[in-house]
């Protein structure tokens, strides 16, 4: 931190571009939506794609948010985060299968109840896994990114194999609950009900997370800890304990994301977590490692871009997101919302 001599108050004299700058990342999301509208000639398809892009973005956000906070707080990079996604999906789907009577019924309430129970079960299991993972895999390798990457990758391999041991087989196909099947038509566009629910759930989770981070003392500790963990300790807070909580919460959210993703794709595999991690990495990099807002914006951008390009030129879907990452890193090497780090 530099100690510049006193300047005249600088808040009053910002130019328009300076004042716009903090908002630029947020404006990029509507920019992509407009861009998609221009390129896709049918408004109906555009709306369909926008909704599925947002749904995908929300799910990626749910998965990625924990990972970015874990990095921000303790400088820990968890390549095994995808394991929670896969595990969550398998646990959630197993619960849905057991609750077949409820998911098959033509009652929205029963369907949602079954879905909610599946999600809670997935979160409980992956949260507990996260607790164990932090203790066994991550804790011995604090401070060394190299070892973290290696060990968490190893953890991912073992977890994927355990899925095979427990559930066997290669993939499980899963139908959505009865009332979440099918779609509604709006302005001539076909909108799958499930995607709309995914968007809503993702938005609620984002707002809830924001409320916790901005409105509770725990949230303040997390945000302060991302910036300067040492000072948080010197103030009297056990940042380690907070970190474990964030790790567990992040793992549980990844498990939830796994259930959502599994129902979105209607098929789950042991490798699904690893596959999603590719998009998650792009999202946390472009969002700014450690930033929840950046992660949200990045996830929406990636989800939208992925869906628009998949429609326009299917082969380039993943490449387009790589291009997006390259472009953003050229513009802001630390991501769209760089996290201020002390020292």
């Amino acid at each position: 931190m530099t100690h510049a001599p006193e300047h005249a108050p600088k808040m009053a004299r910002l130019s328009l571009s300076d004042r716009l700058e903090p908002w630029l990342p947020i404006l990029l999301v509507p920019a992509i939506v407009v861009f998609g509208f221009v390129l896709i000639d049918s408004p109906g398809s555009w709306l369909t794609l926008t909704v599925s892009g947002l749904a995908m973005g929300m799910m990626i956000f749910v998965i990625a948010s924990g990972m970015t906070l874990v990095f921000g707080l303790m400088d820990v990079i968890n390549f095994g985060h995808g394991a929670f996604v896969s595990f969550g999906a398998f646990v959630g789907v197993s619960v849905l299968v057991v609750l077949g009577g409820m998911t098959g019924a033509s009652s929205l309430a029963l369907n949602l109840l079954a879905l909610g129970m599946a999600m809670l079960a997935a979160m409980a299991v992956t949260g507990a896994m996260g607790f164990a993972f932090e203790r066994v895999i991550v804790r011995p390798v604090y401070g060394s990114h190299l070892k973290q990457i290696l060990v968490t990758m190893g953890g991912l391999i073992v977890a994927e194999q355990l899925i095979h041991v427990i559930w066997g087989g290669e993939e499980i196909f899963i139908g959505r609950p009865e009332m979440l099947k099918g779609s509604i038509t709006l302005f001539g566009a076909t909108l799958e009900k499930y995607r709309l629910i995914a968007v809503g759930l993702g938005l609620i989770l984002f707002l809830a997370m924001r409320a916790v981070l901005r409105g509770t003392k725990l949230g303040l500790i997390v945000r302060a800890g991302v910036e300067n963990p040492e000072m948080v300790m010197a103030m009297g807070y056990q940042i380690r304990r907070v970190f474990v909580m964030v790790f567990v919460a992040g793992s549980a959210l990844a498990g939830l994301g796994g259930v959502m993703w599994g129902l979105y794709q209607e098929v789950i595999t042991a490798q699904m977590g690893m596959e999603i991690m590719i998009l998650v990495f792009i999202v946390v990099i472009i969002g700014g490692l450690g930033s929840v807002e950046g992660c949200f914006i990045g996830a929406l951008m990636v989800g939208l871009l992925q869906n628009y390009t998949a429609f326009l030129e299917p082969k380039l879907a993943l490449i387009s997101n790589i291009a997006l990452m390259v472009a953003i890193l050229m513009w802001r090497p630390q991501g769209m919302i760089p996290v201020i780090k002390a020292k």
């Binding site: 990114h145 990457i149 190893g154 391999i157 194999q161 041991v165 990099i285 890193l329």
Partner: protein, 352 residues
């Protein structure tokens, strides 16, 4: 003389030296010691993967950079040969040109990725390479008009390297030599040269700077080494070596496809071998690869037997299923990182 070839990098352990000699001897005389197609395939695969793993060790063990794009570079060499022979027809010129083209392309690609991601933060490299490598793998399997898609491409190689060619009329040491054996020795010697070359690199001043950076990047920068330059060079060199190995692999297999060169599984195998064999030792690549590939071929049979034998127990047969061997390897891998980061070689040398 031996020291000259090894660039002064002694095995530093009698047992290690003995193991290395056995492996060298076995590979050099593989066609005579272990007749049969499967053994020859295994031997060639070991040769090639020693180079691939060693080139990865150059990056991971010596420069301390984790890349998940190593198979991408490996694949670039292989596809370089395949595309060149398709364009230019069968011939040594196509093989050489394809190899060179694949190598140059992958070195340039590596340089771009390195400059792009290492500039910001070294950990970005791991994430970015993972993303790029999977995007390329997807692209390769989709652009079937150019790459043959999921099916891959068969490669027509000169007759002298094929099974139909008979260099000698009489059996040599009881073996009817064919072009396959010529091809094997092409693989063996090119891999041997590449390995010794890498051994030279890591024991050169350049290699020592890399290790200094790995130990403490800030200090190296403060002393005046341009860290990004050295890391980028290591990335390029490693990618080029992987591409060369890929080209040799393609010539040997006479085929290239996404699963044989670009798959995530191969990437994970490489990572596991380096760590279990011993990061930053080069010899770890030799020992690790030999053990790994032999285990892959023969341990699985044993696991299958053990799984059947324990069929009456709950869960145990599932855990011992041959398809689950990656799980045991993963556990071994994690334990290696914790308890003996310098791997088997480090153990043999008596360091931990």
């Amino acid at each position: 003389m031996v020291r000259l070839f090894l660039s002064g990098d002694d095995p530093q352990s009698r047992i290690l030296a003995a193991i290395l000699l056995i492996i060298l001897f076995a590979l050099a005389f593989a066609p005579f010691l272990f007749p049969g197609t499967r053994s020859l395939e295994t031997a060639a695969r070991i040769c090639i993967f020693i180079v691939v793993v060693a080139s990865y060790d150059l990056l991971l063990g010596y420069a301390g950079i984790v890349s998940f794009a190593h198979t991408m570079f490996f694949g670039m060499g292989a596809y370089g040969v395949a595309l060149a022979t398709r364009q230019m027809g069968t011939g040594y010129d196509a093989l050489i040109l394809g190899t060179l083209a694949g190598t140059v392309v992958s070195a340039v690609f590596a340089l771009v990725i390195a400059l792009f991601s290492l500039r910001v933060r070294a950990i970005f490299f791991a994430m970015i390479t993972l993303a790029i490598a999977s995007a390329v793998a997807v692209l390769v399997s989709q652009l079937s008009a150019i790459t043959g898609g999921e099916d891959g491409m068969n490669i027509r190689i000169p007759r002298e390297l094929g099974p139909a060619f008979r260099p000698f009329d009489e059996p040599v040491l009881g073996i009817n030599l064919s072009g396959r054996h010529v091809n094997y020795y092409l693989v063996f010697f090119s891999c041997l040269i590449m390995f010794l070359l890498m051994l030279r690199v890591v024991n050169s001043p350049f290699g020592r700077v890399l290790q200094a950076i790995r130990e403490n990047a800030f200090r190296a920068e403060a002393i005046g080494y341009r860290v990004v330059y050295y890391r980028a060079m290591a990335t390029m060199l490693s990618a080029a070596m992987a591409a060369l190995a890929g080209a040799v692999f393609a010539i040997w297999l006479r085929y290239v496809g996404p699963t044989t060169t670009l798959g995530v599984e191969i990437m994970l195998d490489i990572l596991l071998i380096v760590v279990i064999g011993g990061m930053g030792t080069m010899y770890g690549a030799v020992v690790g690869t030999a053990v790994f590939i032999l285990a892959q071929n023969y341990l699985k049979d044993w696991m299958g037997g053990a799984s059947d034998a324990t069929a009456f127990l709950p869960l145990v047969p599932d855990l011992l299923d041959p398809d689950r061997w990656l799980m045991w390897l993963g556990i071994l891998f994690i334990l290696s990182v914790y308890f003996f980061p310098s791997g088997i070689v480090g153990r043999l040398r008596g360091k931990t």
